[in-house]
Symmetry: C2
Subunit: 498 residues, 2 copies
Amino acid sequence: MDDSRFTRRTAIAGAAAAAALATADSAEARKKRHHHHKHKRALTRRADVIVVGAGLSGLTAAREIAFKGKTVIVLEARNRVGGRILNHDIGNGHVTEMGAEFVGPTQDHIIGLSDQLKVERFDTYDTGLNVYYSNGNRQTFSDTLPTGAAPVQVGPEAAAVVAQLDQMSTQVPVDAPWTAPNAADWDSQTLYTWLKNNSASPQFMGVAAAATEAIFGSEPRDVSLLFTLFYIAASGNESTPGTFERNFNTRGGGQQQRYVGGSQLVPLAMANALGRRVRLNSPVRRIEQTRTRVAVVTDKFTYHAKRVIVAVPPPIAGRIIYEPGLSALRDQLTQRMPMGSLMKAEAVYDRPFWRDQGYTGQAISDVGPVKATFDNSPPDGSVGVLMGFIGGTEARQLTQKSPADQQAAALQSFANYFGDQAKSPRSYVQFNWTTETWNRGCPVSVLAPGTLLDFGEAIRRPEGRIHWAGTETSTYWNGYMDGAVRAGERAAAEALAG
Amino acid sequence: MDDSRFTRRTAIAGAAAAAALATADSAEARKKRHHHHKHKRALTRRADVIVVGAGLSGLTAAREIAFKGKTVIVLEARNRVGGRILNHDIGNGHVTEMGAEFVGPTQDHIIGLSDQLKVERFDTYDTGLNVYYSNGNRQTFSDTLPTGAAPVQVGPEAAAVVAQLDQMSTQVPVDAPWTAPNAADWDSQTLYTWLKNNSASPQFMGVAAAATEAIFGSEPRDVSLLFTLFYIAASGNESTPGTFERNFNTRGGGQQQRYVGGSQLVPLAMANALGRRVRLNSPVRRIEQTRTRVAVVTDKFTYHAKRVIVAVPPPIAGRIIYEPGLSALRDQLTQRMPMGSLMKAEAVYDRPFWRDQGYTGQAISDVGPVKATFDNSPPDGSVGVLMGFIGGTEARQLTQKSPADQQAAALQSFANYFGDQAKSPRSYVQFNWTTETWNRGCPVSVLAPGTLLDFGEAIRRPEGRIHWAGTETSTYWNGYMDGAVRAGERAAAEALAG
């Protein structure tokens, strides 16, 4: 395993890693690296295609290009790969994830990829009752009811509203939401406005905020109704219509499964197979193109190629200098694709003690800072990990507090849902994606009213020799790992055809 | 006038320029430049304060700092000063303006400044009838009626809606709009949602769109109701409450007066007085700060100072690299302050022929691309200039057409309002602020729902030794020249106090 430099640098242990990486690492790649090593040759700075960003989308694009026999270089700003996917070592060979981690039905592209890379999945723990915490009262409910992950206490209203949203979303084409028959009306109002006009109880509005804080890192007022309907429509695939529930459910939803050894094994396996084609610590500052070539400039080197695929979050892509400048529509679109505000709080316990008490580890709440939790323990349940999303207003306020206050507030949330035992974890770790230089928010770009309607057509449109990847450019599972893989595949096909 | 390098470089002729610049150019500045010239000394790259951006706000800040006896350097990306203020030579010693140009009552700071600089004002031409073009019909109205610049045809409804907005705006503190009693409600909906709930006629909605396209470069769906109310409240000063009308009227409003020789004479006069303190062609790429110092990095040089004032549009400020990175709230605020989409179309005629026919030259329309016009002729009316705003959706669509098609469409608008004579100008000039590298939109950052509420408090908050100027940081006349001056004064006071 002397080739697994990405694994070593990011301190990933996971027992499955070695096998996965060895398998994913092609003989061709190993030979090439060996050759390099032997002759101490300078790394090439010329390729058919350059990919900016070694997240899931960029690595997928690079993998596709390499498979087709073309040369590719991936330039990654950080000293690690994975982008919004990040394992965290919790000791004893176990990991938890600080970023994207779940997969579920209809997410065929990420699942197909991880199967090829032999990264195994396991079911998210969800045996028992969920907790609904409202106005300081803890209640429980079963997510096996027809209302799924919505608390039965707001069940009828949630069912009616969700059914209506799902129905409306069927009219939104995922590749051109701005052409929906009601696009102008739906992109002229916030999700909040629509919910207020279609629901009665403050309890339901509280649950809705908990959902958008986890799903978008945003409040219902921050997002366009049309964008929300697009996001729902995108939560499926070419043969299965999207549903809202699939954004929020473990049982049959996007949170149904997790990866053995942690989700970062997927990008790590791809990076190891790509070997020295992936250049870490190489933030791209400038992209210059002529009619025939493109030059990609980092602090140290200039890379030359026929095409470039930019696979970083839109607000980060907007900070690159482009020569000539991007089109008016593209530049102004990027100005209107802010990242959501999201932290993950994770507490590690000697045991998943909530299981003993008959709880799934899932809670939904109208009191912050953590308003949605999951059981994030390793597959064998030998230690317990509670994971909580802190999103939207909660994240924006909490980020201004001291680390100690942040931890105390998150553990208080855990205790509200699962008892005072939750206040004494073996260890606590928190990740604030909003302070990350190369993300500046998570989980996804969130679109306010008017953006899809007037700027949407620029989202995937190449700018000369520049192609756009990243989950934000995906038609299906936009904002998820599956969307990142899809976008990488699509951008690679574009660059190869160009 | 060998000192007026800014004037020469930007090819401004204006008869008043020489006098204004000579007056504004202090003896101290002249001596200093002479000294430099004589000894061919290298320009210093160290100052008490560095200002990023030689627009109106940055130059005002630099001027204040120089007045206080502190050293200052202004770094400007372009080869001209003025930012969103730009004269255009139309021959025979006349100019027209491609950017900000109007001033009016309560705009005391810009008027005070221009009076000091001896740049003279004159009244915007508004004798006669205005045109209201709706559904292909041309009608006329007088703006001397109580409904002002709103067409009398939608007068009663406009009066009722505007009165209600003005009343609501009195509850919005301009220095903290997020503390308004109804802030959460008002920042949860778009202006469109509120208008739809409070107006009946499609005609009125058409006029409303024409207004927001000119004022914000945006559609009513693009902007938060709270942001709109803040903008109204800001359209006044400490002793006179803001009103919506002041955003749209020549008579008693923000469009009441113009500058003899063109509005760019104001920043040009300041730049000439500052002399070699202003460095053109110096885009700032990176700002690094320690606990005691700040370093500002351009492509060629690194400048050192105690404080830095960033006086560029928020989305442009967001593209600078900061070390250490900005706070989560500030970075995410900047992600949520997109520039509006705005072009100006100007046609020059042998005479202001519409005056002969009894028209003011002002039109408002529900058919684009130009939906609002003004008489932009020079003071003596020796030639006629029609100026039209192309904003919001109109700009976003027109920018994708060929230059010839853009011109033909704009002239068709002029002809709709003032007859076929408008189709044959002596010359035509158009300026698209959205394609400008150092603006990427105009006239101002426009805030969608949720932004003021969760991120507003970061708008003027210094980040260590970095202070923020630019009209977007102003409490009064945000988005206008007066706001730019106010912001520059405030930022200078902060930097001097620090």
